[in-house]
């Protein structure tokens, strides 16, 4: 895990003092609300429906047990005893007071954390594959480039007043678990087949929101040492030419779309040539320094097969169920990465109480070298657990109500906070997620349905990633009523796709039965062993439309 050195530490400390001064200037009237807004947003502070909301950066989704304990302390002292994990691997507190925010920032700085650029028209928190450094299928740990980019983009003198927000994600595997193609910039570590040389594949212009677009490859191979120069070139072209006349057309995806990928690439390459890569050596040295913080853990030498694990599964079907949905292959034999679902049946997706945080910190220290990860699907991961320890781990998780056995299944729903919290929302999201979760509570049924991602957004801004949900649900407001549009066939993986609208909007109560009809149609039409998304891709949305409408008539009758 990355540890701040004296410089990183001083940056966040100075930043806390700077924000304290900014708040004082706002309160004294030196700054107008319009002038203060970008400053507070660049510090993760939103004004929501009922209160301020503070968004804390969890760079590339990596946390330590010590950091999680500090978050629990903040939740108790300054909030209402819980936090909410977001689709950008951040943590939100929903009830802080403006004048206490500098004190919260100071507590965060004590554990190498901050809220820098978790909002505003700047480069946001860098997200990553939640199995980075662990996954058996990755080329290398992509978190060092995440940290390199975090530092480079922090308090950037040139790129802090962009046309719009700018989101970066990093990964290093053929299997995309970080939704790289739905980001303004996606960086994937790749290896050249001929020479074995490592470099970066650069995706640009992806994004969800009002105009969803899948990112395009602007550079298929960028040599090591040139990443910051290349990103600087992209940012300069965007800062100079991105649209500022219309907020809804200001993301880089619109620029790329309007001038075309080739013209965009030409401009970036021209700028890149002018920037020069004289600093390539520096970048590699810095990357080496950072990578040392992510050195492999002192793993035990174990056999790939754990007899005690196999025996526990055979004896305890509930444990076996949980392992079936929760384990991901670790690159070290005898270990597994464990997804811990924050989606108990009927619960609020991504919420965690301070008691759970403390218990989980203890668990991480006992079973996973004190480390954990936040996933973009609003779950947690214990990255390094011995298979021998899984049964004991499961029992401890259950004591804190953290042993939901639904990771990756239909009740593992992504949901934005929606109208229960968010000032931008047009409809509620959380209650829809809760209703669907309750309807599909039966474990046997969930297992029969198999992998299925439902993603819910409470407005067009798409924080709940509905466009790339296998089933996407978008809450809108129509003549004073909540109305939910359903899309099918979205895909957040390396085969990224935008879902297709199934039919007219539904009332909140009609959503769970409609989801059920879609799922029933799938169960009827699937080939043996075929997943939901593969069935939708094979048959097209049309096959589901008929059933959707027929069902709708039947239920209306």
């Amino acid at each position: 895990m990355y540890r701040y050195d004296e410089f990183d530490e001083r940056v966040v400390r100075e930043r806390v003092a700077q924000f304290r001064d900014q708040v004082a200037r706002r309160l004294s009237g030196s700054l107008t609300e319009d002038e203060f807004r970008p400053l507070r947003l660049q510090n993760g502070l939103y004004l929501q429906l009922h209160s301020y909301m503070l968004r804390i950066a969890i760079p590339y989704g990596s946390l330590t047990a010590r950091q999680l304990r500090q978050l629990a302390l903040i939740a108790d002292k300054y909030d209402r005893g819980y936090g909410h994990f977001t689709t950008r691997q951040n943590l939100q507190f929903n009830w802080p007071k403006l004048r206490e925010v500098p004190d919260i920032l100071s507590l965060l700085a004590d554990v190498d954390m901050h809220c820098i650029q978790t909002s505003g028209n700047c480069i946001r928190n860098v997200t990553a594959d939640q199995f980075a450094g662990v996954a058996a299928d990755e080329i290398e740990d992509p978190r060092p480039i995440g940290e390199l980019l975090r530092q480079w983009s922090s308090l950037h003198p040139e790129f802090s007043f962009l046309p719009r927000k700018f989101k970066i994600a990093v990964g290093a595997s053929e299997n995309d678990r970080a939704v790289l193609k739905a980001h303004d910039l996606g960086v994937r570590v790749v290896r050249r087949a001929d020479s074995g040389e490592l470099g970066y594949e650069i995706h640009v212009g992806g994004g969800l929101g009002r105009t969803p677009m899948i990112g395009k490859i602007v550079r298929d191979f960028l040599p090591r040492g040139q990443l910051l120069a290349y990103v600087e070139a992209i940012m300069r072209v965007y800062n100079a030419e991105g649209r500022r006349d219309n907020k809804f057309k200001a993301r880089i995806k619109i620029l790329v779309h309007e001038i075309g990928l080739d013209a965009f690439r030409d401009r970036v390459e021209r700028e890149f040539a002018a920037v020069g890569v004289a600093a390539a050596q520096d970048e590699n040295e810095e990357l080496t320094r950072i990578a040392a913080c992510f050195a492999p853990k002192p793993y035990a030498r174990l056999l790939a097969r754990s007899d005690s694990f196999e025996a526990a599964k055979a004896l305890n079907p509930a444990f076996a169920d949980w392992t079936e949905s929760s384990l991901h292959p670790h690159h070290v034999e005898g270990y597994a990465a464990v997804t811990v679902s924050l989606k108990p049946i009927g619960g609020v997706p991504g919420d965690m109480t301070s008691d759970q945080m403390r218990a989980f910190a203890d668990i991480a220290e006992r079973y996973s070298f004190g480390e954990l990860r936040v996933t973009h699907a609003q779950n947690l991961v214990l990255p390094h657990v011995k298979k021998d320890d899984l049964f004991a781990l499961w029992r401890m998780l259950a004591k804190s109500d953290l042993a939901a056995d639904n990771a990756g299944l239909i009740t593992d729903i992504i949901s934005c906070p929606g109208l229960d919290y968010c000032a931008l929302a047009t409809a509620r999201s959380i209650p829809i997620a809760q209703a669907i979760s309750t309807r599909f509570a039966d474990r046997g049924r969930q297992r029969d349905i198999g992998p299925l991602q439902i993603k819910i957004s409470g407005c067009i801004n798409a924080c709940g990633h509905h466009h790339v949900g296998h089933i996407g649900i978008l809450g809108l407001e129509k003549r004073g009523q909540e109305s939910y549009q359903i899309t099918l066939g979205g895909d957040a993986s390396e085969n990224a796709a935008i879902g297709e609208l199934l039919g007219p909007g539904l009332g909140a109560d009609d959503v769970p039965p409609a989801i059920e009809r879609i799922v029933d149609t799938y169960l009827e039409l699937r080939n043996e062993g075929e997943t939901f998304i593969d069935t939708v891709k094979r048959l097209g949305v049309g096959a589901f439309k008929t059933a959707f409408f027929v069902g709708e008539r039947n239920e209306a009758a």
Partner: protein, 170 residues
């Protein structure tokens, strides 16, 4: 209007003028549309041009030798195009005075200087609310930065490298 630079508030020697009137002034800033007609800066006369933040640097580069100042407009606090334009003007070789004109706030001051600006011309409305002491304090709020190649002392990366080399020599 108030003019600030790294040292504090200072008097503005320049007057806004069209190209014809600029002939008779010791220091004038002409609108971009009048650039071609403006007299060249020389030992006795200073001449600047005010450009919109959308201008292409190569459009003005041919005039660099005739200009003692380029003023870049910041139409709003949140419009950061001027920062990139300043970087590109410096890279293209402009050595005269770079002035940011618009409703910037004190927190943007160090960013503007790092991107190559020398001074900021503020509208009265913002200047009245933000006294010079605030600009001074905001300028000193951060003493460290990660980015290399901007107009300020050694970056964190450079300082880390120096520390490493020092360590090796001992």
């Amino acid at each position: 209007m108030k003019l600030l630079d790294g040292a504090g508030v200072r008097a503005d020697d320049y007057e806004r003028a069209d190209a014809a009137r600029a002939q008779a002034l010791p220091a004038a800033i002409v609108p971009y549309a009048e650039l071609a007609a403006a007299p060249p800066a020389d030992g006795r006369r200073r001449v600047g041009v005010e450009v919109p933040n959308t201008v292409a640097p190569d459009q003005i580069a041919p005039f660099f030798g005739r200009l003692s100042l380029i003023a870049v407009g910041f139409p709003t606090t949140g419009d950061g195009r001027g920062f990139s334009l300043a970087r590109r003007l410096r890279r293209a070789g402009f050595r005269g005075v770079l002035r940011a004109v618009g409703p910037l706030i004190a927190d943007q001051f160090p960013y503007a200087l790092a991107c190559g600006f020398d001074e900021i011309e503020l509208p009265d409305s913002s200047a009245q609310r933000q006294p010079p002491t605030q600009w001074k304090r905001a300028g000193a709020a951060m003493t460290l930065w990660y980015q290399q190649g901007y107009a300020r002392p050694a970056s964190i990366l450079e300082q880390r490298r120096l520390a490493r080399q020092g360590g090796q020599n001992v």
